[in-house]
């Protein structure tokens, strides 16, 4: 993640992290870059860390959140491989269906890429920046530094860690755990800066648009600004402020602008890879019920595709589910635009019907429900919709 990935160490680390105060001395990790195929000795603390993470990797392979689609995996894997160069063989990518912006690199080479990142990256260059950033954490072995720091600063916690470890049978790699842990762990200010620099360098090295790093940051800042104060993204709990990181990346892109040569964004390739999944991922976002943030995302996506039926449907769903003053009216108007687009999901008719029902517009409700059943005769909620029709 642009924070640490440590789900594996959940049970050992939660108590440590909760009570850890500020620290002065950071145990430095000697070697800067680990060599390709590196594996630590078993009798070291790093060997122990790897062992725990290997357990987490086994759990990841079995996780119901794992996205197995071959084409999508190939896309993310190929890009990762390009960026990782000689380290390609040491990195294993797992795409997880989690509606938050995140990627995480574990010390043993396991990489988690969350679908919330894929749906927010606008092009290959933006995705490459985040992946490059993560590979940077990996190559500089930042998680080992974090691990050592946590260990050396966890006073009086033997009790807690043992209880937690005792209770934490196996690894619950579920969504809540992953998110909670992501929030608990953050790399240091300097580590994030180093990783950002790595991400930027990988854009330059591969002739990808050097402004992509700043761009994805600014999109995220915009989305996060819409969140109520208490529910800001765990992503933003990392130390260097997003604004500072955005400015640094912009300045670096400016510096090299004159001699950057031809660069690419890879918008088309990215779109092709994610489009078959995009609607499902967007609807998955709604489970977070962070409607103000979803709206920012929907608006941003609609800027490039104002006539996309699925994006309009997504936007309508946000209003319908938020259901504040005037939202149902807004939803109705958006659905009515959506159903005119050729790529509209059939469910838009059902949503329009449900909205019309609440607005007591029976004629519209009837028309919409009938269209829905006509286009999806084997709908599994057919009986429910027929019941509504009878009530009208």
């Amino acid at each position: 993640m642009l924070r640490a990935g440590f789900a594996a160490l959940a049970y050992l680390m939660i108590p440590v992290m909760v009570f850890t105060g500020p620290v002065s001395a950071l145990a430095a990790v000697e070697a800067i870059d680990q060599s390709p195929g590196y594996k630590p000795e078993e009798d070291t603390d790093e060997g122990g860390l790897w062992m725990m993470v290997e357990d987490a990797e086994r759990a990841t392979k079995r996780s119901p959140l794992l996205v197995k689609d071959e084409a999508l995996n190939t896309y993310v894997r190929t890009l990762t491989c390009r960026l990782a160069g000689p380290h390609c063989g040491s990195i294993r990518v797992y795409v997880l269906d989690i509606p938050h912006f995140n990627a995480a690199m574990y010390p043993n080479g396991m990489m988690h890429v969350w679908t919330g990142l894929l749906v927010r990256a606008e092009n290959e260059a933006q995705l490459a920046f985040v992946l490059g950033h993560e590979i940077g954490h990996y190559l500089e072995r930042h998680s080992l530094e974090r691990f050592r720091k946590a260990k050396n600063t966890s006073n009086f916690l033997a009790f807690f860690s043992l209880i937690a470890a005792g209770a934490g049978v196996g690894i619950a790699a579920d969504l809540a755990t992953l998110i909670a842990l992501g929030a608990l762990f953050s790399y240091s200010r300097d580590q994030e800066r180093e990783a950002d620099a790595r991400g930027f360098d990988s854009l330059v090295q591969h002739s990808l648009d050097p402004r992509a790093g700043a761009a994805i940051w600014s999109n995220l800042i915009e989305e996060d600004d819409a969140a109520p104060r208490k529910r800001r993204s765990p992503f933003f709990s990392t130390h260097p402020s997003p604004k500072e990181r955005f400015e640094t990346l912009t300045a670096r892109a400016d510096e090299i602008a004159s001699f950057a040569g031809e660069t690419v964004l890879g918008t088309q390739r990215h779109r092709e890879a994610i489009l078959p999944h995009r609607l499902a991922w967007l609807l998955g976002e709604l489970k977070r019920a962070a409607y103000d943030e979803h709206l920012v995302l929907a608006e941003r996506l609609l800027q490039t595709e104002p006539r996309s039926g699925e994006l309009l449907f997504f936007k309508g769903e946000i209003y319908r589910k938020r259901n504040e003053e005037g939202d149902l009216e807004a939803a109705r108007a958006i659905y009515e635009r959506a159903i005119l687009q050729p790529d509209v999901p059939v469910e838009a008719h059902r949503s329009l019907g449900l909205t019309a029902l609440k607005l007591k517009n029976n004629a519209l409700a009837r028309r919409s429900f009938e269209t829905y059943l006509e286009r999806r005769p084997d709908a599994d909620d057919r009986q429910m919709i027929e019941f509504y029709l009878q009530q009208l």
Partner: protein, 233 residues
């Protein structure tokens, strides 16, 4: 030994810093009728044991060690096989389940086992309507493991063992001078025996110990004996 006495003994040894002490506490389901399929050799499968050894740092954090863990895994396997052989039971190990249904059963057990630990053993964790009986089950879904491994019973095992580092020992002595009791390395383990036909957990044992080095053969043997001594097979 009488469990009350045992508890008392353990309480006494808490007063001594590095004093060694082991308690086990077994529970057996009331309707645990052990029955083996006829025609089959008696066979038990150890399902993805979760064993982690590490050291306790001066600060009190658990520092996992891969080499110790591997050594302990081997010794526990070896001793368990010997112990079961004495009871005329074959022993298989399912280290990496492939059948998705079996994986679900193993995941379910990690939740159920933890619940038993919390609600049957944990102080104050008792469920008002559940009582003190061991009447937990994973359901007949466990049958997939039975068929895949040709075993009537499954054994789950969790072990977390920590050893005191020099730094921690130093802290403990320091704390003792100040009149405080800082905990040293501790072994926590639990194991459950599951009837793979019904999924019922027929027997459960929890072990807490400050002695018994799992990295060396003799103490490891003792730990395995303590764990499985009262196995109702």
């Amino acid at each position: 030994m009488d469990t009350v006495l045992r508890k008392l003994a353990c309480f006494v040894c808490l007063g001594f810093l590095l004093a060694a002490c082991t308690t086990t506490s077994t529970k057996t389901a009331e309707q645990a009728n052990i029955s083996w399929s006829s025609g089959l050799n008696k066979r038990i499968v150890l399902i993805e044991p979760d064993i982690t050894l590490g050291s306790l740092t001066a600060g009190g954090a658990f520092d996992p060690r891969a080499d110790w863990t591997r050594a302990a895994e081997q010794l526990i396997d070896q001793e368990t096989a010997i112990l079961l052989k004495e009871k005329n039971i074959d022993f298989a190990k399912a280290d990496n389940l492939q059948n998705p249904r079996s994986i679900q059963v193993a995941k379910l057990h990690s939740a159920v086992g933890r619940s038993i630990l919390l609600h049957l053993y944990g102080a104050g964790g008792q469920l008002p309507n559940k009582g003190k009986a061991l009447d937990w089950s994973l359901g007949p879904g466990a049958n997939t493991i039975r068929t895949d491994y040709n075993a009537d019973y499954g054994l789950f095992l969790f072990v977390q063992d920590s050893y005191t580092t020099a730094g921690r020992a130093f802290m403990m002595v320091g704390a003792a001078i100040l009149g405080a009791n800082l905990q040293g390395g501790t072994q926590i383990a639990f194991t459950s025996l599951v009837d793979l036909k019904t999924g019922d957990i027929v027997w459960f044992n929890r072990l807490v110990s400050t002695a018994g080095d799992l990295r060396t053969p003799d103490p490891a043997k003792k730990v395995v004996r303590n764990l499985y001594e009262e196995l109702p097979l």
